[in-house]
């Protein structure tokens, strides 16, 4: 059984001017010990989805569908049970660690807090564990006595990771853990995460809009656009040979240093990002799509199979693969074979 | 540019839409409009001769009746009439001292936030000084030294109450100044004046507006307190009326209308200003906008 399974999850924010469908029917699956990358442009609903996994969204967000963690639906859990699951089974590395840490408490206390709350350690043991965790993420133990503002961005991000590891959860959700960081520190943090999942067999959901980062970190990749998954498949395949025009644009936007093709020839995707409150009809990508057909403006697209354990939501997938029947909601298989 | 006008209109109607959702603010605005209109109309709808003690027609301290809906004072004058005329002075003092205080506060705040180094340090020192000083005490001293009169009261209140505004404006100025568009403007060749008037002022203006209403409220309370403590303007004001009710023993002799009428007027109008100010702040201050989710 897979560790995490999302079934048609949708999140709608109620705001003054109406409803914002931030996530519109996402189904995903993650097996234990695997890493799943979620890419997509800014505002495509990645963070919303991540927060929905532990029901951390604000009150004005409505979540529907099913989020099965070890077969148990998070959305219908009792509060007590949910509290027990939070952090002990699944923990989160939040986007923007500078704000996710309490500015007035020592990082030691903050890392130890979940241990004590879940009754996993005595205070003394918790302190030892904190030192251990800090060593693991490459921070000297004396840093435990620091306050968040005394740390650099990379260090704070590492504290966040140490905190996520504190209760030895089976799943870590890392929301853009490196976006705010310098290339060099980004590399450090990525290396750290990579070694941690390798050593502890933890499952990982990593969110980023940098496809190349995800490709190097994850087994599988899902690309989101306007609240939907538009393409999914084995990470390298999606990165090297994207089937959806949006994934393609994303992949191409990253220049390869040394590649003469991109020398003095930057590529990008025109058009405006979609407004979730006023999504275009038909395929929501069609106004920006370089290869859109007239029918795209009216025809709903779904995730169609696009090769070995791959799916993509584009009509061109159909014509290329000459598959006419829709598979409906396509479920991402545990991708053992392509790891 | 007519497009600009439509823009402005759209912006205003957007503002109004948002403001309308602040129910308390609406009540406040309604009370205020009523109070201001009544104050403006008073000379037209009433006869000031009723305020002349030698021509008063009522009995002394008589309870509310048809002739005197709010009763009469110690000289048999209609309290309703006094309250109406008093509202003119109270509101005038409120508005003028708020204006004075806001002007000083805004200028000091923007200057302290915009300039660096010793200018800012000196301005902040002065501001902090005024901020922590007990302003009522200072106002009383000022009023005692400068002698009575409406303008003295306005001055005393205005001069002692600008500091918190200056702090607020300075903080806002600092955050505006930290925005890259200031740097950009500077890179385009802009000078101090251009930056302060084109970028900082429009950005702090909503805050100034919201704060002015709050300031009017506190100025009205301050006026009544000063009047009670003996520094009155000499004209009939709400504070002066309250003082009168105290001097003429209205409370012990059971003339509750004399005590309550001006007091409740103060409370109502001050509250209305406060509600409006808070509503304005909620609508206009982007920092607060997100809060009441």
């Amino acid at each position: 059984m897979s560790l995490l399974e999302l079934r048609d999850v949708a999140v709608t924010y109620r705001v003054a001017s109406g409803e914002v469908p931030a996530v519109r029917g996402v189904s995903l699956e993650l097996a234990a010990g695997r890493a799943l990358g979620v890419a997509g442009e800014s505002g495509s609903g990645k963070s919303t989805l991540a927060m929905a996994l532990l029901r951390l969204l604000p009150k004005d967000a409505r979540v529907t569908g099913e989020i099965l963690l070890d077969g148990e639906d998070v959305l219908t859990m009792k509060w007590g049970r949910l509290r027990a699951v939070r952090w002990a089974s699944a923990s989160v590395v939040f986007q923007g660690a500078q704000h996710a840490l309490n500015p007035v408490r020592r990082i030691e206390d903050q890392i130890a807090e979940p241990l004590l709350v879940h009754g996993l350690a005595t205070p003394a043991a918790a302190r030892r564990k904190v030192a251990e965790l800090l060593e693991q993420v490459g921070l000297p133990a004396w840093r435990a006595r620091s306050h968040p503002h005394e740390l650099s961005g990379g260090q704070r991000q590492r504290v966040m990771i140490a905190m996520a590891l504190a209760c030895s959860p089976r799943l870590i959700i890392a929301d853009e853990p490196t976006t705010a960081l310098d290339v060099m520190i980004q590399a450090q943090v990525l290396a750290l995460i990579r070694s941690l999942i390798a050593e502890h067999g933890i499952s990982l959901i990593m969110i980023s809009h940098d496809l190349s980062v995800l490709a190097s970190m994850c087994d599988r990749l899902a690309v989101m656009y306007a609240g939907r998954v538009v393409e999914s498949g084995p990470a390298h395949e999606v990165f090297r040979g994207p089937r959806h025009p949006y994934s393609r644009a994303l992949a191409e936007a990253f220049p390869t240093v040394g590649d003469p093709a991109s020398r003095l020839a930057p590529k990008g995707l025109g058009g405006d990002p979609p407004d979730p409150m006023r999504l275009p009809g038909g395929c929501s990508f069609h106004p920006r799509c370089p290869v859109s057909l007239p029918s795209c403006a009216s025809r709903e697209v779904e995730l169609w199979p696009a090769g070995e354990s791959r799916t993509a939501a584009c009509v061109h997938v159909l014509s290329a693969d000459e598959k006419t029947e829709s598979t409906g909601i396509s479920v991402m298989r545990p991708a053992k074979e392509d790891a | 540019m007519s497009i600009t006008r439509t823009r402005r209109k759209a912006a205003f109607s957007r503002f109004w839409r948002e403001y309308r959702r602040q129910r308390a603010g609406l009540y406040g605005a309604a009370i205020l409009v009523a109070a201001v209109v009544l104050a403006l109309l008073t000379p037209l709808i009433t006869d000031p001769a009723g305020m002349d003690v030698t021509k008063a027609t009522g009995a002394k301290m008589s309870a509310p009746s048809l002739d005197f809906p709010m009763g009469t004072d110690e000289s048999g004058r209609s309290i309703l009439l006094m309250v109406l005329w008093g509202s003119r002075v109270s509101l005038l003092i409120g508005f003028m001292s708020a204006l004075l205080s806001m002007t000083i506060g805004t200028v000091m705040g923007i200057a302290a936030g915009h300039f660096r180094g010793w200018v800012s340090a000196v301005l902040m020192r002065i501001t902090d000084w005024f901020l922590v000083l007990p302003s009522l005490v200072l106002a009383l001293v000022l009023a005692a030294i400068l002698g009575g009169g409406t303008s003295t009261i306005i001055l005393a209140i205005g001069v002692t109450s600008w500091a918190s505004t200056a702090r607020l404006i300075r903080a806002q100025t600092l955050s505006v100044e930290a925005r890259p568009y200031i740097e950009r403007s500077r890179a385009l060749g802009a000078g101090h004046w251009h930056i302060m008037t084109r970028h900082v002022l429009p950005n702090v203006a909503p805050l100034v507006l919201a704060n002015t209403t709050l300031q009017v409220a506190s100025a009205i309370v301050a006026e009544s307190t000063l009047a009670f403590l003996g520094a009155d303007s000499g004209d009939v004001s709400w504070g002066g009326l309250l003082r009168g009710s105290y001097d003429w023993g209205a409370a012990t002799s059971g003339a509750w209308w004399y005590v309550l009428a001006p007091g409740l007027c103060i409370v109502a109008v001050v509250m209305a200003f406060t509600l409006c100010g808070r509503a304005l702040e909620a609508v206009l201050n982007p920092r607060l906008r997100g809060v009441s989710r």
Binding site: S42, D182, V183, M184, G258, D272 | R179, E183, R186, R198
Partner: protein
């Protein structure tokens, strides 16, 4: 030939009683019609250098030369200077006053300088920056625009003054991957069409590869390697440049530099990179017999010449 030049520029800040040497001896020049990329990790002094070039920061020593003449800091001279040299900031959203329409934002420069034909100028700047037709955008507020459009408005604001040099500080860092290509293409086009010179500040080597003629790599306040893009990025000689290139996600063997990020208040002795230098750490430098010099001997400041040059004892030793 050189239009804008920094000559032995030093900028120091005093932060909490300590001196931070944010820019610590930089020679750099931007020629007519040339795009130079200035790369380096966060906090190495790139922004400070850019701001100093614009006269927004006074150098502690050294000078900024424009057209061969040193910059004067009288407010009059600065105003005139800023008509010709323009800055585009990192954050397009922050760079636009939310209360100004696109028109006002773009017209701000011409107004400050009292230029005639404001409306035409704004319209043409907008269309040159790729916002076409300009009328569609004139009365929009920044919040009604997408990130890419905002960045173009900022660029248009700079173009409205017909500058000869554009200093762009991380022009695409905060933008979505899908938009950045557009902006970069725009810069290339402007160079080709208008002969604009540009200094592009970034920490992204891919960007340099995308658009620059020349690249200068900065580390802790000083340029450690510079030269034509192809040469530097394909065969870097400085260990720091090598490390930067190696951590690009697609590179096969990343060299993650250890140690704490550099601190401009405590610049190490000898080669400023030596505490983190992987070449020194691996003993290769010792093999070449330069490790002692790495730890103690100062390196000369690189000149502003256009040729490829590097400030490294090891690279110097190998080249010899």
């Amino acid at each position: 030939m050189s239009l804008l030049e920094a000559r032995d520029l030093h900028v120091e800040f005093s932060s909490r009683g300590r001196r931070a040497r944010a820019v610590d001896g930089v020679n750099l020049q931007v020629g007519e019609g040339e795009i130079v990329a200035l790369v380096g990790e966060s906090g190495c002094g790139k922004t400070t250098l850019a701001r100093t070039l614009l006269g927004l920061e006074r150098p502690t020593s050294g000078s900024v030369l424009y057209g061969g003449a040193p910059l004067s800091y009288s407010s009059r001279a600065l105003k005139a200077y800023r008509r010709e040299v323009q800055l585009v900031l990192q954050d397009p959203t922050g760079s636009l006053n939310p209360r100004h329409t696109v028109y006002e934002a773009v017209a701000e420069g011409p107004r400050i300088h009292g230029m005639p034909d404001e409306e035409e100028r704004v319209a043409s700047a907008l269309s040159r920056a790729g916002l076409r037709p300009p009328e569609r955008f004139l009365h929009s507020y920044p919040h009604e625009l997408s990130g890419g459009q905002r960045q173009r408005v900022v660029i248009a604001g700079a173009l409205a003054l017909d500058p000869r040099v554009l200093v762009a500080d991380e022009p695409v860092a905060s933008l979505d991957a899908s938009v950045r290509g557009e902006i970069l293409a725009l810069m290339l086009r402007l160079r080709d069409e208008l002969g604009l010179s540009a200094l592009v500040v970034t920490h992204d080597l891919g960007l340099a590869w995308n658009i620059a003629d020349r690249v200068a790599v900065m580390y802790l306040g000083r340029i450690v390697e510079s030269g034509p893009v192809e040469q530097i990025l394909k065969s870097p000689s400085h260990p720091y440049t090598q490390a930067l290139l190696s951590v690009l996600p697609e590179s096969p063997s990343p060299v993650v530099l250890g140690g704490e990020p550099p601190d401009p208040t405590r610049i190490p002795h000898g080669c400023r990179f030596h505490p983190r230098c992987q070449v020194l750490a691996a003993g290769t430098a010792a093999g070449a017999g330069v490790d002692g010099r790495c730890r103690s001997q100062l390196l000369p400041v690189l000149s502003s010449s256009a040729d490829s040059q590097v400030a490294c004892h090891y690279a110097g030793a190998r080249r010899r």
